[in-house]
Amino acid sequence: MNDGSWKIACPATSSLPGNVLTLAEGEGGRMTRRLLDETILPRLGRPGCCKLGDSAILPRVQGELAFTTDSFVVSPLFFPGGDIGTLAVYGTANDLAVAGARPKWIGVALIVEEGLQRDVLEAVLDSLARAAQRAGVSVMAGDTKVVPAGACDKLFVCTSGIGEVLPPAPPGPTALLPGDELFVSGPIGQHGTAVFAARESLDVKPVPQSDCGPLWPAVAALREAGVAVRAMRDATRGGVSAVAHEWADACQATLHLDEACLPVLPETRALCELLGLDPLHIACEGAMLVAVEPGQAERALAAWRDVCPRAAIVGRVISRGAAPVVIRRALGNDQPLDEPWGAPFPRIC
């Protein structure tokens, strides 16, 4: 709350107990080096790496590179199924994967609020390191700033990521044509509901879990099976609906979805029914919408039998009607589907 008062932010070593981070640790110099040596590098550094320059030098790759950037401000920092560390890795890696690029390298910049418990930062970094290993990415660059109490909420993580494009990259949503089939890689709306339930301490059983996870294995499986993909997108903020609207805008056709075909877990559905929300508007962090040429969807689902066992065909592209995205409801009536225009749950990623 802004009460008009102001405080001096003094970066000198503080008298706070050693189990919290202090401004001094973000000011460069000995305190920062100690933070790096004792807390950050043992968790994120690569074995045998002793060279800490201002930039990482990356090896050449054969083809084109994909580059992405992202930032993570989720609250709470830890939630069922993930935390800000796993989100930072998978969110970045997935942006690369859906562009048809194998994720390879990421940079991680931390903005830490003064007074954050040291063991909280350590737990986030441990989790980030495990996620990086699972996603097959290396942390090549980083930065740490500590800001005065109140200038951020505990911990923000900013990332950038580079991947190697493995042709053929999908042409993207401008290439969508009437007849193309639409499917999702798994149940939708899990991440947003999990974070919300955790933040509000809602007593829902089973406990909603975030679907935070890497999408590259699914993308790779489609590639290996030779599925002709038109477009792929991970359905983060705004959910599947946001992606559908973006694609409809790009291709000037209509995306027709069938509510009865959408995979939604019971706990997601329960929370949505309770709060009057549509799972189509709620963020996922490990699910993507894919558009393929006509007749390819079944082949894709067969290729995904082990990787994405709960994938489902959810609709198709049709010629443009009055609405960019249409949903067939429970009683069989077709209606325009809203584009989400504001966050039902703020700060879920």
Partner: protein, 376 residues
């Protein structure tokens, strides 16, 4: 999902629609009271399917929509007061008043918190004794028992930093105001199921009799709404006018006695201005004298304003006409152009239970939705 899927069965719905069509010998006019019912009728295409035998007039059953702009202005003022924090249901945050919404107040540095329960606001006050926490108590009799509980809890804890801006409204007086208004066309009601779960439906008997209008307690799923419509049409065709309970899985005739007792002990009826409708006699709830110290209007010395407030919004929003059932949202000149969920001129466009929002979500555009027929 239990209590949901079986009430969305498309085959049963088709049979019920056919049954209503068979029964009706003319077109009847039915008002569904609750905004949640409006959304259900539109979302599932029921209004459209039955349009030639039933005209649905959308009732003022959106408590966010009918909360007067003046109350929201005061809430914004409290949010901007140093040392105060305003806690409110999320749906209320975006409703525009005469000097912006609560979200605008927050963006300008005011202390506004979204709360899912009034008990959250009590906990906030407990945690921070230096903060004056005000809970914006909006809602029908459905939410008032939770507010009553919060006041009692605050009293038991001896909190001197918790109060409530009470904007609760009562459904039955509004229904009577609709029936009594000159030129009223409403012939029957789908009564608000959740309100009746608390208050019961026995008190509607005199209303049904005096105005010769069937009142059917109805739920929110498609089959609930169709059952309510069918009961109304059956009574209207037979010239009957009594109360029927078609939401028996949630509603008992006497309602919830414990909740009603809590309400009676904590609140009393008062006249209240409903946004766009003018003052509704006995249309609100206020804290009883013994809890007056928890009334934010009393604590923060706000001058009494109730009766003199204008019935219409200064910005020419026609919410009042929509809420009283005299105007369909699509007939409003601002609908879909100057007034959208992103740039709402009034509450019915921004509230999740508002009729204008329902039309914008489910009935836009009015023409064919899909570019081609997609096989069922």
């Amino acid at each position: 999902m239990k209590y949901v899927d079986e009430y969305r069965d498309p085959h049963l719905a088709r049979r019920m629609i056919a049954d209503i069509r068979r029964r009706a010998t003319r077109r009847w006019t039915i008002m569904e009271v609750c905004g949640g019912q409006t959304h259900g009728l539109l979302r599932h295409g029921i209004e459209e399917e039955l349009a030639d035998v039933v005209e649905t007039i959308h009732g003022p059953g959106c408590p966010v929509c009918v909360t007067h702009a003046d109350a929201i202005d005061f809430a914004c003022e409290l949010a901007r007061t140093p040392g105060c924090a305003l806690a409110s249901f999320g749906d209320m945050l975006r409703v525009p008043a005469s000097r912006g919404s609560l979200l605008d107040a927050r963006a300008a540095g005011g202390a506004v918190r979204a709360a899912y329960s009034p008990l959250d606001a009590v906990r906030l006050a407990q945690r921070d004794p230096n903060l004056q926490v005000v809970f914006f108590a909006v809602g029908f009799e459905t939410t008032a028992p939770a507010t009553a509980l919060a006041v009692r809890q605050a009293a038991a804890l001896g909190l001197d930093n918790f109060s409530m801006l009470v904007a609760h409204v009562r459904v039955q007086p509004a229904m009577e105001a609709v029936l009594a208004s000159p030129g009223n066309r409403v012939q029957a009601f789908l009564a608000a199921g959740h309100v009746c779960a608390v208050m019961g439906c026995e008190s509607y008997a005199s209303l049904a009799e005096r105005y010769r209008a069937p009142i059917v307690v109805t739920g929110f799923e498609p089959l609930d709404l169709l059952a309510g419509m069918a009961a109304c049409v059956r009574q209207l065709e037979a010239g009957e006018a009594h109360v029927e309970n078609r939401y028996a899985r949630s509603v008992r005739p006497a309602g919830n006695p414990a909740a009603r007792r809590l309400l009676e002990e904590t609140f009393e009826a008062c006249d209240r201005p409903w946004r766009g409708m003018g003052v509704v006699a006995a249309g609100g709830l206020r804290l009883r004298d013994e809890y007056r110290r928890f009334d934010a209007e009393f604590r923060f010395r706000r001058p009494a304003s109730a009766v003199a407030l204008p019935a219409v919004d200064a910005n020419d929003c026609l919410a009042g006409e929509v809420l009283a059932g005299r105007l369909k949202p699509t007939a409003c000149p601002h609908f879909g152009s100057a007034c959208t969920p992103e740039t709402p001129r009034g509450a019915p466009m921004v509230s999740s239970e508002g009729a204008c929002a329902a039309y914008f979500r489910y009935r836009r555009p009015a023409a064919a939705v899909a570019g081609e027929e997609v096989a069922r």
